[in-house]
Amino acid sequence: MPESVPSSLIIDAFKEIFQAERRGAKRQDPLGWIISVPDTHQKSVLAALDKERSLRVLTCSTEDDANAVAAGLYMTGEPVIVMIQHAGLYASVNTIRGISMDGKIPIFYMIGLLSREKDKDPKDSRHSMVRFAEPLLDVFSIPHARLEGPDDVKLIPEYYRKSRERKGPAAVLVGLETA
């Protein structure tokens, strides 16, 4: 059975990624950028991020904005993670295609699977927004993995690296609401 992942583990993973990115860089403040369109599924992470002084969270009006802001930050050498919900993935597919895929901009996404049933694989969900998220990523050949418990936190740096290596999007889906 999947389990919720504590927010502290996720934020520690973010910090480790950003520390590695900042090594040797002149600019150290903020350590990194979280570009967010608030996701109910990851609300404990967002609440904990509010107390983090080393990370800067920028809340955007839409996921289209979030993608474009992340692209601008990338071009200036800044490390970025985008946090959205599956509905935001659907809303912003053209921007992800145009910016991250065609622009070859490495953007790493944390995508919440709101309403995912604990006892079901997402492909068997009765909610279309849960059911279609992973197939949609497959259509665009976007590498993805799913957080199904605390042990899966290692997927966050792994898929962040994948986005860098392939110069394009990569995503980790958050299976259950974070704790």
Binding site: S61, D64, V69, A71, T76, G77, E78
Partner: protein, 190 residues
């Protein structure tokens, strides 16, 4: 009516080391005026110039970032006005070339047409300041302050149509190449 090309010529002479983000009909003329410079065009992800300019401004706080937006383009991501206002980058100048139509698709009138006031919207969203300019002389006189005063500022420029569009101009540098070149110039040194 102001000609976009004449406005861009003045900008090219005054922008110094600013990063510029042209979109749609400002793209072809800007490429001729400022080839191989600190610019990245926004084509193919509708309305993204404003938010991409915001990301550049936040990541490069020691440089001015100038967005050359269009009215049809901004309407596609109108919420970016609030996103920009919330982030409040002091180094961001958002120029809105308002021709009142979707030029590339045959000049259909934009929703709201000439009555839509983007300067009022920007001010209401929380921009530090917003102006409307409708004569070339006024633009020329005030241009230095647009690039020096604290942002975010939006300048609504009432213009005619550009001479060419991305559809009629020749092929441009691919977006991914522009991204790589700008990152090498701006991001590489950080």
């Amino acid at each position: 009516m102001m000609k976009p090309e004449e406005i861009l010529k003045l900008i090219a002479a005054a922008r110094g080391t600013a990063i510029c983000v042209p979109t749609m009909t400002t793209g072809p003329a800007w490429r001729k005026l400022a080839p191989d410079d600190l610019s990245v065009g926004c084509v193919g992800f509708m309305g993204g110039a404003s938010a991409m300019g915001l990301g550049l401004a936040l990541g490069a706080p020691d440089r001015r970032v100038i967005i050359f937006d269009g009215d049809g383009s901004l309407l596609m991501q109108l919420g970016s006005l609030a996103t920009i206002a919330g982030a409040a980058p002091r180094n961001l100048t958002h120029l809105l070339f308002k021709n009142g139509v979707y030029h590339t698709s045959g000049s259909q009138e934009t929703p709201g047409g000439p009555g839509t006031d983007f300067a009022a919207m920007a001010k209401a969203a929380g921009y530090r300041s917003a102006y409307t300019i409708s004569t070339f002389d006024d633009f020329k006189k005030r241009l230095p302050s647009f690039f020096s005063e604290d942002g975010p500022i939006l300048v609504q420029l009432i213009t005619g149509l550009a001479e060419s569009t991305p559809m009629t101009a020749g092929p441009s540098t691919p977006f991914h190449q522009q991204v790589a070149e700008l990152r090498a110039k701006v991001g590489g040194a950080r």
